[in-house]
């Protein structure tokens, strides 16, 4: 198996994402995370991006404040694993629009979805950059369509009560209760245009 796991680690050693292509118990997973974190965080910038850990290899690369770590089989190609990591970062960058750590923290599920389109069973499943994002946006669109439908059905009672309202504009209406669920579900959606400035993100996520 090419990639055994992918871990995203902050500089402070916090796990931002952990995807396992092996079936391991929670205990085993935490052990690997702990060991590998210590190894990777102890590296300095001038060092190469490969490590040996037990009988496997660890390939990592730092992007801004995040370490992207991949565990691979000892017979696997380190260089191409670096490429895979880079590909993943590129995809996220495109999807979130100038991705930063906060995007991944608050929309961790999206990061997983992208990874699931990029890798399957630890192997690269799609080498076309465009294709991965196309799939994700298809899925998002499907979700959105469902969400709109639901909103519509939930809002129907209100709409009928509001006199004079002829057209429905979901986004303009305050949606109490269940509405907040759909906001947080789709908070990543609609902002993928990349128009947002990265600095405002801290305020955005609160």
């Amino acid at each position: 198996m090419a990639v055994q796991y992918i871990i995203l680690l902050s500089r402070q050693g916090k796990v931002r994402l952990a995807k396992w292509f092996l079936t391991l118990s929670l205990k085993e997973k935490s052990k690997i995370v702990k060991d590998v974190s210590t190894l990777v965080l102890g590296r300095r910038t001038k060092m190469c991006n490969f490590l040996e850990y037990k009988e496997s290899k660890v390939v990592y690369r730092r992007y801004a404040s995040l370490f992207f770590i991949a565990g691979i089989d000892s017979s696997d190609n380190e260089l191409i694993t670096l490429e895979t990591i880079h590909r993943y970062v590129e995809q996220m960058d495109r999807y979130y629009g100038n991705v930063c750590e906060l995007d991944i923290i608050f929309n961790f599920q999206k990061a997983y979805y992208i990874l699931d389109e990029l890798l399957l069973a630890g192997e690269l499943q799609e080498s076309s950059k465009r294709d991965v994002l196309r799939r994700i946006s298809q899925q998002d669109a499907l979700e959105e369509a469902e969400g709109d439908e639901e909103k519509f059905s939930r809002l129907m009672p209100y709409i009928s009560q509001l006199p004079g309202l002829t057209s429905y504009d979901g986004s303009g209406l305050p949606v109490p209760g269940s509405g907040s669920s759909s906001t947080s579900f789709s908070s990543g959606r609609g902002r993928s245009a990349g128009s947002r400035v990265a600095t405002s993100r801290e305020e955005y996520y609160g």
Binding site: L22, S25, N77, I80, G177, S178
Partner: protein
């Protein structure tokens, strides 16, 4: 409806709130409490009837699971969310399942139908999600139940689904190898899929499969080769090349075919990863034999580019590749010694480590000094806080020892320098665990082998033995230093000084194994000092000696009650001797009338130690001593009594035992003809057999028994079989020469008692063995190097000693590394099921057999026709010719079919007449096992 909507938030926190809350916590304790509270909220929420609430709870739990909190208790709720009709919820459900389910999660049993439903969904996104999910949670039963559905998916109209289905098949195979057989044809077809991502996925899967059992996938070679030469997708090319690296070793013909395209890629590609993979393939695919100069030159030359870039990663992988090539082409790699040496001082330790590993092969007499100096400088800490990690320091010391001792010290010209290096190493590795012993062993080795440096080595050892720092910080070396001081006491300038020092060492300071060595050294040094005739035994000296002897006696008394058996035994033995000596000294006249030393000291004691000089003996020497004819080491000489339940069985057993005895007797008779057999074990076993009733020999029966025994042993993994031809190969346990040496002067005595000369090997003149060498009577082989004599290890028979072989070093190294990695690997990928999974067994054979049968029938018919035709020859001659032609064609076909099937299942008995030769095949298998065993022996000896 409206009341529901008006209700205040249905769940307390959204994912957003949760994450913000966690980020808001100041310290770990607060975070933990916050998370625990959140989890207990989730416990309520997952039970909610509202799917949105449930989904959000599951999503929150998935987030917390990532942080290391258990969510296995929510498995059932995850399953509920997975089965939601809404894509958004389903997506969350699958995500949580992938993150939290293990193969042992019991709700997986309930998942089968849901997955089946999703796989059959009309929405391809649902299907894809189910496949992705399955890739993470597939259990053996899921694999079995869903294999069929997935195989169908491999032909889905959307390439998106096809590609995922193909990839997930690998996971299915891992859990349910049978699926491989049914899906293989389809998998094969997928190599020709119009969509590149599907082809790529197929290559990925086959590449993984071929790692386990390459033979199955050889038939795909033409298709794969086609992809190799036509594709330009680097991701896939890397996989294809990796795949060929697995196939090449089992099909030698592939090499010639592969080298042109791979060479082409190497020369044209700009992608380093692909270039690296190609070189890797050539090396690990076994395509680089010793005479492939040109290919090797190209690889080595291309790798040099890796070092000319500033990229550390390229350096690292370049060194990895060089490390592989150096085994076959050391000279070529040595041409790049400059760049490799530079890496030795790289700021990155992992690069340094690889470089140092490589340098071992590249040093020669000219560069050794320089390299060792550079490495030693690294070991000296620059400042307090800049100490290199211990494992790296250990590694460097090992490499220094390796490169110096390589090839029986071929590179060392000045042994005083080497001893000085060893002494320095001891000093600078203070506090590094275990390394002291390795350095000490090396010092001992040098002292034993190089006579000219012994003097110097003894001086160094004396300094170590008396050094308090070393006793505390690096005691491992003392075991060997102590031995050297004792064994070569003749070189001591000041024996009484060292005796004093040893006797006065505090009891607590040293460990028992070092004490044992010291206790052994004391009498050696003592008799060197006291037994010397040079100093006359005047009255004052007598008194002095008495005092010294008394000191030693009290020292030994201290240890005669030690809990360590070795320390106790040795001290008790020598205690008695020293008491006698003290007595003898005490009885001497008080004036200077007798100036000779007491006989006990001058004659009796030295004879214990100085009879023979100890020489290095190859670790394999013992193994090479041929077994005396007639000695069967596999024979039990004390057959345990077996109580069986039924009387019949007992009787049978008894009979068998009698048979055995008969056989033993007969072999004993053969022995009787050979000269005196005095090895203890031998005579013991003989006497035990004496009691057996001797009966007339039944040759046939004996043969049968032997045969049966051999077969029994073939099944026993603990037996290495020997056929009659290789009777000379012994399976005596290998004894470490080191340990036999360090046990010191005891050995000659013991050996004498054993009466080595009368062991039959001396008298059996086996032509294949050149002049047998006993351990002590030396016939040393020396290499002349500069003017230093280095004693080679003594061994038996073939002088092709491999102690300095790079292969052996590599082996030693890898075993050392393996030992360091011995900790259980928790990253296991369980692909054992695929390892021995042969696609061509059973079913395919059946098909082949049918084919052959069909051809046979056709032949028969053809023959009949031919006969008929012969009758009608007169009428139509030309028809016969035609028929005959056809027959010939058919015969050819059958033969081909047979070959094919034989090829496919090499161990399988021949197709047609396998009924009658069941026994034969059994024999064949036995032979095979025997051959393997022989190979094993040979392999070990190399």
């Amino acid at each position: 409806m409206s009341t529901r909507v008006k209700k205040t938030p249905l769940f307390k926190k959204s994912l957003h709130d949760l994450i913000r809350g966690i980020r808001g916590c100041k310290d770990p304790a607060a975070t933990d409490k916050y998370i625990r509270d959140a989890i207990s909220e989730c416990r309520q929420e997952v039970l909610s009837q509202d799917m949105d609430v449930k989904t959000m709870a599951v999503l929150k739990l998935a987030y917390l699971q990532m942080l290391g909190y258990d969510m296995s208790w929510a498995s059932f709720n995850v399953l509920e969310v997975m089965s939601s009709p809404k894509f958004a919820q389903k997506r969350v459900g699958y995500l949580a399942a992938m993150q939290s389910f293990g193969v042992d999660t019991d709700v997986l049993m309930l998942a089968t139908n849901m997955l089946k439903k999703d796989l059959a969904s009309s929405n391809h996104l649902d299907v894809a999600m189910a496949i992705s999910g399955l890739s993470n949670i597939v259990s053996p039963s899921l694999a079995r139940d869903l294999a069929e559905d997935l195989i169908k998916m491999m032909n889905h109209s959307k390439p998106y689904v096809r590609k995922k289905a193909v990839m997930v098949m690998y996971k299915i195979f891992l859990q349910f190898p049978e699926a491989l057989r049914t899906s293989f044809p389809r998998l094969r077809d997928k190599l020709e899929d119009p969509e590149i991502s599907v082809v790529s996925a197929t290559v990925n899967v086959i590449c993984e499969l071929a790692k386990k059992h390459p033979k199955n996938y050889l038939p795909l070679a033409p298709q794969l080769f086609n992809i190799l030469t036509t594709s330009s997708n680097n991701w896939m090319l890397i996989k294809i090349i990796k795949l060929f690296a697995s196939l090449a070793p089992i099909e030698p013909r592939l090499k010639a075919k592969l080298i042109p395209p791979i060479t082409n890629i190497i020369q044209t590609t700009t992608a380093m990863s692909l270039l690296y993979e190609c070189i890797n393939c050539i090396v690990s695919g076994g395509m680089l034999s010793k005479d492939d100069e040109q290919l090797a030159t190209m690889c080595v030359g291309k790798l040099r580019i890796f070092f000319e870039e500033t990229d550390q990663n390229l350096k690292f992988v370049g060194l990895l590749a060089y490390n592989k090539i150096v085994l076959t082409h050391p000279l070529l790699v040595a041409q790049n010694a400059d760049v490799i040496m530079d890496c030795m001082d790289d700021p990155d330790l992992s690069i340094r480590e690889r470089a140092v590993e490589l340098v071992v092969y590249l040093v020669n007499t000219d560069t050794l000094f320089e390299v060792v100096k550079r490495l030693m400088l690294q070991l000296i800490p620059q400042s307090r806080d800049q100490v290199l990690p211990e494992h790296y320091r250990t590694e460097v010391v090992r490499r220094i020892l390796d490169m110096c001792s390589n090839n029986t010290y071929a590179n060392v010209t000045n042994f005083e320098w080497y001893v000085a290096v060893l002494v320095d190493l001891v000093k600078i590795t203070e506090g590094v665990k275990d390394i002291g012993a390795e350095i000490g062993m090396e010092l001992q080795n040098v002292a034993v082998r190089v006579r000219s440096v012994r003097d110097y080595a003894v001086g160094a050892s004396v300094r170590m033995v008396t050094d308090k720092d070393i006793m505390i910080k690096n005691p491992g070396v003392l075991k060997y230093a102590g031995w050297i001081v004792g064994e070569y006491a003749i070189y001591l300038d000041n024996p009484e000084f060292i005796l004093d020092a040893i006797v006065n060492i505090d009891r607590q300071t040293l460990s028992d194994d070092i004490k044992a060595v010291y206790i052994q050294a004391i009498p050696k040094i003592y008799c060197q000092y006291a037994g010397s005739d040079r100093i006359p035994w005047t009255h004052s000296r007598t008194q002095e000696m008495f005092q010294l002897t008394e000191n030693i006696v009290s020292y030994l008394e201290k240890y005669s009650t030690s809990m360590d058996i070795e320390v106790q035994e040795r001290s008790v033995e020598f205690l008695e001797m020293f008491r006698l000596i003290a007595l003898a000294i005490n009885e001497r006249p008080t004036d200077d009338s007798d100036l000779t030393s007491p006989a006990l000291v001058s004659q009796a004691m030295p004879s214990m130690f100085n009879f023979w000089e100890l020489n290095p003996v190859s670790a394999k020497a013992q193994k090479r001593i041929p077994i005396p004819e007639g000695l069967d080491l596999d024979e039990e000489f004390n057959v345990p009594v077996v109580y069986s339940e039924s009387e019949d069985e007992e009787e049978a057993l008894l009979r068998e035992q009698i048979m055995k005895q008969q056989e033993l007797n007969s072999s004993k008779n053969i022995n009787a003809a050979s000269p005196s057999v005095t090895v203890k074990t031998k005579s013991k076993s003989k006497s035990s057999r004496e009691a057996a009733p001797s009966e007339s020999e039944d040759e046939e029966e004996m043969e049968r028994r032997r045969h049966e025994r051999r077969r029994r042993q073939a099944e026993d993994p603990y037996y290495i079989l020997e056929s009659d031809k290789v009777a000379s190969k012994s399976r005596k346990p290998r004894r470490d020469s080191e340990s036999s040496e360090s046990s010191g002067p005891e050995d000659p005595m013991k050996n004498e008692k054993l009466d080595i000369d009368s062991i039959p090997i001396m008298k059996l003149e086996i032509a294949s063995i050149a002049a047998p060498v006993t351990k002590k009577k030396s016939k040393r082989h020396r290499t002349q190097l500069a003017h230093v004599e280095i004693a080679k290890e003594e061994t038996f028979g073939d002088e092709h000693d491999a102690s300095g072989d790079p292969e052996e070093i590599a082996q030693r190294r890898s075993s050392a590394r393996a030992a360091s990695h011995r900790a259980k690997n928790i990253l296991r990928v369980d692909a054992r099921g695929l390892e021995n999974y042969d696609l061509d067994s059973a079913d395919e054979d059946e098909a082949d057999r049918q084919e052959v049968e069909k051809f046979k029938a056709e032949i028969l018919e053809a023959r009949k026709n031919a006969a008929k035709a012969a009758e009608e020859e007169v009428k139509a001659t030309h028809i016969v010719v035609k028929k005959k032609k056809r027959k010939a064609k058919l015969v050819k076909k059958v033969k081909k079919g047979k070959e094919k099937s034989d090829d496919k299942a090499s161990q399988k008995p021949a197709e047609e007449d396998n009924e009658k030769n069941d026994d034969k095949s059994q024999e064949k298998v036995e032979e095979k096992v025997e051959e393997n065993a022989e190979e094993m022996i040979d392999g070990k000896e190399e």
